[in-house]
Amino acid sequence: MIEILNVVKKFKTNGANFKTAVNDVTFSIRRNEIFGLLGTNGAGKTTILKMLTGQIQPTAGKIFYDGKTFNENLFEIKKMLGVVPQHINFDQELTVEENLELHARLYGMEKIERQNRITELLDYMELAEYRNYNVRKLSGGMKRRLLIARALIHRPKIIFLDEPTVALDPQVRRRIWNLIEELAKNGVTIVLTTHYIEEAENLCNRTAIINAGKLIAENSPVGFCESLGKFTVESADTFKFFHDKESAEKAASLLENSKVRQTKLEDVFIELTERGKNL
């Protein structure tokens, strides 16, 4: 569905200096999967999403949607995409409803459909009573819910969510997870970034780990844990990984205060980013 080939992004910093935010990244996103981009702060996740949504151009490399580049098929591709940015970007002069209405018009929706869809999504996000509020008057979490609602109005086929559950309370976070799973069931492709590794572990079919602009590994959450070792022996602040339970237990018995547990995606993430090792 989306092919990302040797994509590089350099930003001009001061004068003639450049910062390489994304460094020769190649991967693909399949139709109807939930794909997670994981990485530490400044790894390049947002920059990758911005290139995938056509907001900025890669310095080098190519991006294909069903074999077509953005330039070949710009408006058709844009119509398929829904984008939930990392930061709030509403029109501050407008109300909740007007912001959604603006979006629906930008995507050329008919009036009746616009109205129905706005009502439906405001209900789903529990924002119905704020319909006529100026967006400035919403709480942080409400704004984030509204961002998601807005991205869904035109029924996109691919949705990009840049840290969708930041600053949301646990109930709402659950709701967003359910929504994402529901969308995926209905044939929508989802690309998300997150710092909550647990979120990626529960939701994603596949994840890519980005570190300092480079894609260092790509796998399913289970696949990642299996290739590192399904069992973790944890003692004090050291971790050792084993493929079978027996050797894990044996190793644990030789260490003080140690315990054996299942490896989590978080272990893989830390192992790959912090200690810079490769699988």
Binding site: I56, F75, L81, N89, L102, L106, G108
Partner: protein, 219 residues
């Protein structure tokens, strides 16, 4: 909108009625100048809210992500500025008439006013796409627009200026807007050279603004 009305009152009504030039009163002389500088200011100021939309609210992203042609977006913003420019021009004209100015009104006059608004809306748009801070936007006003509003044949004729300075001032669009408007308000013909120069500025401004819009998220 307040400043041009004050100029009109102080220099035009207060001072201008008693000062006689060969061609009529000083009031008649400065009314087209004030129309020119007013259409410039309205053009610039009614579009620069896109700076906040780009830098602070980031709401510009919504348009850049959506399947909207950037050309349409830019055109819409410019037309919005032109509408405001024309409304305020009508107010200036009415005020001037109340003060007793002699003005010939024509469709060409309004066309030139609209064209001048377009040019400075584009200047504002381009600046809004390229400059990082609001302070820098204010500097465009202080160091470019404000000097132009006094020097470009608005309050006095450029004919008496030293050669080098006059050449420089003749390269600026506002000079041509003032000259065109002055010729039209006294019932003269349209100055084709000046019109061509304004058209070139407008086309160039559109091209540069569009380019800046497409690249505005790159840094």
């Amino acid at each position: 909108m307040v400043a041009p009305l004050l100029y009109l009152t102080a220099f035009g009504w207060g001072l201008g009625r008693s000062v006689q030039l060969q061609s009529g009163t000083y009031l008649d002389f400065i009314v087209p100048g004030i129309m020119a500088l007013n259409s410039m200011n309205i053009g610039f100021h009614s579009i620069i809210s896109v700076h906040a939309e780009r830098v602070y609210h980031k709401s510009l992203e919504e348009y850049l992500i959506s399947p909207i042609d950037p050309k349409s977006f830019l055109t819409g913003k410019i037309l919005g500025a032109v509408l405001k420019g024309l409304i305020s021009s009508v107010i200036i004209i009415l005020t001037a008439l109340i003060f007793g100015a002699n003005l010939t009104l024509s469709a060409e006059l309004f066309f030139v006013l609209a064209l001048n608004t377009v040019i400075f809306a584009e200047v504002g748009f381009y600046a809004a796409m390229r400059l990082a801070t609001y302070e820098e936007m204010a500097q465009v006003n202080t160091y470019i627009l404000l000097p132009m509003s006094f020097m470009c044949g608005t309050f006095f004729s450029t004919a008496t200026l030293p050669e080098g300075l006059r050449f420089f001032i003749n390269c600026l669009p506002l000079t041509h807007a003032s000259q065109l408007l002055r010729s039209l308000t006294v019932g003269g013909s349209i100055l084709f050279d000046s019109l061509l120069i304004l058209a070139i500025f407008a086309a160039l401004g559109f091209f540069l603004s569009l380019k800046a819009l497409k690249k505005c998220q790159e840094d």
